[in-house]
């Protein structure tokens, strides 16, 4: 079959690997969006800007304070997550009683502000973030050479995604969270402080975006516009996976990264639109998404 398309196995595997790397970022971002949407019913348009902010905070920690990659990997999600908590506490919280589209518009406004701020300071051109010393070099997988850092991205984000899934679906805290998604009043009546749960959930979703940004810093250039296109792609992925579905977000994230990679082999012109085409088809066949419950 491969002969028909005149492509080699190396080419296919290479693109699958690139697809998995992009898919790692898609999965981390759509996971954050899904968690936030599940509990807050808000589509966080600022997700792309916060991903970019994660990469920039990491870069600034390195350049101004000399804090290296590994410490930044912990510090960046904490710092940006804190900003998320402030945003939730002072702005988003005031919108829970009005139409959910206002949450989308608010976070869109915040995204514009963050992006414009960094564009004014750093311009469109990207900053380089060096790959940490231990993860330099390439791995020979016999059919292809994989840069070690990229392998690390796939492994690390898979671990983070699976632990988040475990936390939500299999632990006590996760059960509170899921219960609060279903019926916040009732959970509140049982003595669980739902407002704090909501604030922390938003912070956690934002931290995931910042973590993705920090992971992306050595792979892509750290640039103010890095979050712009990806957030719209991730929206499409969340719709495909089924809004609010945790496993749907993870599977669709990695899966569509690979689909995009394979499209680049067989029909490169379509690679930038394939995810949107898949979204349109999924919506026509299953309007609630692949893993979503019927609305």
């Amino acid at each position: 079959m491969l002969d028909v398309f005149d492509v080699s196995i190396q080419m296919v595997m290479g693109q699958v690997a690139i697809g998995l790397i992009n898919g790692s970022f898609y999965a981390l971002l759509s996971l954050g969006l899904a968690i936030i949407f599940g509990l807050l019913n808000i589509v966080n348009f600022a997700h792309g800007a916060l991903y970019m902010l994660g990469a920039f905070v990491g870069w600034m920690l390195l350049h101004y304070l000399g804090i290296g990659y590994w410490l930044a990997l912990i510090l960046v999600p904490l710092l940006v997550g804190m900003l998320g908590i402030i945003m939730e506490r002072f702005l988003i919280r005031k919108l829970y009683d009005v139409d959910h589209i206002y949450g989308l518009l608010l976070t869109f406004g915040i995204a514009l502000m963050i992006q414009a701020l960094f564009l004014n300071i750093f311009g469109v051109s990207g900053q380089r973030y060096p790959v940490p010393e231990i993860l330099k070099g390439t791995l020979n997988l016999s059919f292809m050479y994989l840069p070690i850092y990229r392998g690390w991205v796939i492994v690390a984000s898979a671990i983070v995604c699976l632990s988040t899934w475990y936390l939500i679906e299999r632990t006590k805290l996760g059960s509170y969270l899921r219960a609060a998604t279903e019926n916040p009043e009732l959970v509140q009546a049982f003595g669980i402080r739902v407002p704090i749960l909501i604030t922390l959930t938003y912070g956690a979703g934002v931290a995931l975006a910042a973590f993705a940004g920090m992971m992306a810093a050595p792979v892509y250039q750290v640039s103010p516009v890095m979050g712009v296109d990806i957030v719209i792609i991730v929206f499409a992925i969340v719709v495909i996976g089924g809004m609010g579905s945790i496993s749907g977000a993870i599977v669709a994230g990695f899966g569509l990264g690979v689909v995009e990679g394979l499209t680049r082999v067989f029909y490169p012109e379509a690679s930038s639109v394939v995810i949107f085409v898949v979204m349109a088809i999924v919506l026509l066949v299953r309007p609630s998404g692949l893993f979503g419950k019927a609305a």
């Binding site: 206002y102 518009l105 406004g109 502000m113 414009a116 296109d229 349109a280 026509l284």
Partner: protein, 337 residues
């Protein structure tokens, strides 16, 4: 009072090209038409489309292509632009109206981004360069449109016809059904309306007017570019509508005038336009959800009340808050908190 207002508005519109730069005024008119088209969806049917630039941009490209490569006239050029927007609206609508609310916004955004990437690569759009030197031609073979003053009156005429048509739609029985769908879709279904068809109908109508605006704006500037199909523009048209007031006829026009003026006065200061636009979004969503026209038409507007109290008692803050509390207590307006 009302008549006086509209007469003075008409006089202003007629003398404006002698006071301001006509291209700037035409840009405001095109954007006002675009925002009004968008308002048909958001203000009346309650549908937030985050991808309206797709219709604006598509019609712009098709019209530019028709005028430069097929050598058609001004009228036919506009017409093929509108037809292309209608067809695209039909395709997007069939997919998007299956979901409501936030989903609708995300789906339209994703579909519009798909269109954007296609135009980025398609040969006929000229990629990053766009289609340049789009000729204006003549109206009915009589009036030379390359003259900015002549063209201003033509654009003004077309836009006023567009506003009147939308006014007619909004206050027709069709418009009433749309409003009921926007306010309570379940009730509209139980009354026997096929709301999917109504939503698709208004979506296509909105796409058609957006297409007219896009085609006109391309002819005004003589350039069809990717900016016309970008998500930035989709965001800007939402902002214009919200600033002026969604669900009012005048709101989008006022909003477009404000935002276009803001853009041109901040054009020199780099990305601060985007920052200011983001800040306005936040401000509107947090405090002025009805927009300028909406708040000034609403007799129970909290914003208006607060302003009046401050005017009456500029120093005594305690009195202001006391009056505030008393009046909101009796009228009980939700929404601002």
């Amino acid at each position: 009072m009302r008549i006086l207002f509209f007469v003075s508005l008409a006089i202003f519109a007629l003398v404006a090209p002698f006071l301001f730069y006509p291209i700037f005024l035409m840009k405001i008119l095109c954007m006002a038409l675009f925002a009004s088209a968008f308002n048909l969806l958001l203000g009346y049917a309650g549908l937030l489309s985050f991808g309206h630039a797709a219709f604006f941009g598509t019609a712009g490209y098709v019209t530019a292509h028709a005028l430069t490569s097929w050598n058609v006239g001004f009228e036919l050029g506009l017409l093929v632009g509108i037809i292309s927007a209608v067809l695209l609206g039909l395709a997007f609508g069939l997919i998007a109206v299956r979901r409501m609310g936030i989903y609708f916004a995300m789906i339209t955004l994703a579909l519009a981004q798909m269109a954007y990437f296609i135009y980025l690569q398609a040969p006929f759009t000229g990629g990053e360069d766009g289609i340049q030197k789009v000729p204006r031609g003549e109206l009915m073979g009589l009036i030379d449109l390359s003259d900015n003053i002549n063209f201003y009156y033509v654009v003004l005429g077309i836009c006023v016809l567009g506003f009147l048509a939308m006014y007619r739609i909004v206050y027709s029985p069709f418009g009433q059904v749309l409003r009921s769908i926007g306010q309570n879709p379940d009730r509209a279904v139980s009354l026997g309306y096929n709301i999917a068809n109504y939503k698709l109908g208004v979506f296509v109508l909105s796409a058609a007017f957006s297409g007219l605006a896009g085609a006109l704006s391309v002819i005004v500037f003589g350039l069809a570019s990717l900016g016309g199909a970008s998500w930035h523009l989709s965001g800007e048209v939402i902002l214009m509508t919200l600033v002026g007031g969604a669900g009012t006829i005048l709101g989008p026009i006022v909003g477009a005038a404000i935002i276009v003026t803001l853009q041109s006065s901040l054009a020199e200061s780099g990305q601060w336009v985007m920052f200011v636009q983001g800040a306005i979004f936040v401000l509107i969503v947090m405090a002025f959800r009805k927009g300028i026209v909406g708040e000034s038409l609403d007799p129970h507007s909290n914003v208006r009340k607060a302003l009046k109290n401050i005017k009456r008692n500029p120093t005594d803050k305690k009195a202001v808050s006391a009056v505030e509390g008393a009046t909101t207590g009796t009228t009980a307006v939700g929404g601002d908190n």
